[in-house]
Amino acid sequence: MAAASFAARLAVPQRSFRNLVELFAKEAMYEVVKNVRIPIYAVSTVAFPLMFYVLFGIVLTPNNPVNRSQAATYLLATMGTFGVMGASLFGFAVSLAVERGQGWLQVKRASPMPLSAYFAAKLISAMLFSGTIAVGLLIVGSVFAHVRLAPIQAAELISVLMAASIPFGALGLALGYIAKPNSAPPVVNLIYLPLSFCSGLWIPIFLLPKFLQQAARLLPPFHVSQLALRAVGMSRETGPTGHIQALVGFTLLFLGVAVVLYRRDEGQSYG
């Protein structure tokens, strides 16, 4: 028996590095294709931030053209943060909760798919949607609200917003392990909307009551929005280091929670 199992081991071919790269690329491509074809995801994650931006940043702004363009620039950063948070939270939490709770993840885990490919695909998809939202907002802002950014500023804003998929995706991952398939969308909304408001994404943070301004420092979207505001030259804070440190900390915390929940799941009825 020992000899037989040894032979069986020897007989199994190895996966080449090229196979592995193709595997990750396909997993990511089909995750994006899958999401693009879900109207409620594709349309709402991109359209809602754009709609809110038109409403708060263009329609309901001061008449004075200087203030108007300033408000539109400010909201470009905060609405961008709002949009990226939605794309990442829904892209991770809801799809993970559904695929985990309804057996699909089991089918994938019974195959030789590396679990890292599955999560990398979700991150790449969230980043691409985030980039789309950022570019969409930039176009609307510059065409309709006279937002003027240097190319380097626009590039920094897009980069910050795409990178923000990492902390938000980590939060979504933890939520995806907490929530059941049917409860995931309301759970995400219950977290997403108050978190956005309290982080100053809809109404500028300096207009919120003092205690909320203090409390916002405990919220990841606040730190993302401050980095985005820095990119467009409108941050009232000092350097970016504190925000980056906070976001790294949040990411590790959320990943830790996700790992604990994943371990709890192992061997139980879910994948």
Partner: protein
Amino acid sequence: MAAVIVQPPWPATAPKLTVAQANRVSKAYGSVQALREVSLGLRGGELLALLGPNGAGKTTLVRMLLGLASPDSGRISVFGADPRDEIMRYRVGAMLQVARVPETLRVREHIDLFSSYYPNPLPIAETLRIAGLEEIKTRRFGELSGGQRQRVLFGISICGNPDLLFLDEPTVGLDVEARRLMWAQIRALVALGKTVLLTTHYLHEADALADRILVLQHGAIVAEGTPAEIKARTIGKQVRFSSRLSVEEVRTIPGVVSLTADQQKFELQVQAAEPVVRELLLRDSWLSDLEVTTAGLEEAFLALTQNHYSKGVN
């Protein structure tokens, strides 16, 4: 065309060699004991059917053999290794029961993606052909009928050209025609030397496909053998007739295991037909429409599991 699948990417498993093994495996989910000290050995090239009603523990056992759940006690090995080993999964395919599959991907895209997980997959066209998906390859999963969905899951299980296949209730919810088609596909795989473990609660399915049957009931194996042996294990007969006798008068005849009555039509399960028929004719000489038949696998299965149930777990 079939030549493509005949060529194994590595030497096929020698027949009769044990390719997967469960050794005194137990598993509880909370207070529910899903499996109790179950042992089984899957031999290369055979089709083993795990037969049992819903909740018997079939899916739990399959999940363990796939490394998706770990036993509380006992040992599982697949190709001599731990089933959680990613490398071993290159040689294994699985068709599992799944409530929801991503609906916006097309059939061909699902197959393409799963093929990329394996180092030596079948050509996609070949997988589509074997699973009968050519006509619907450009359709989105959400647009498919129940039978077509099962075929996609079947395609996913074979696309990596595995040596060992786990098919968990592959024909559940299929109509007669779709079921026959799936059977033909499964037989074709066995003919190519693949090893298959199939779970089913359809008795005729196990009879039609399996080399060997394990009957699982309340998490324990209660019978094991070829379909013929399983049938032979129940020596019981079925007796049908019409009579004016009361249900009580028939029930008290020695040797009657169980009975159903509708008006004057009776159907009895008996251990041996002759003494019961003799007694029946003594009690009612006008008895008519007498018919004695051998218990099929369906009755065998019922008798086996009921017998075990009434005796309790030893």
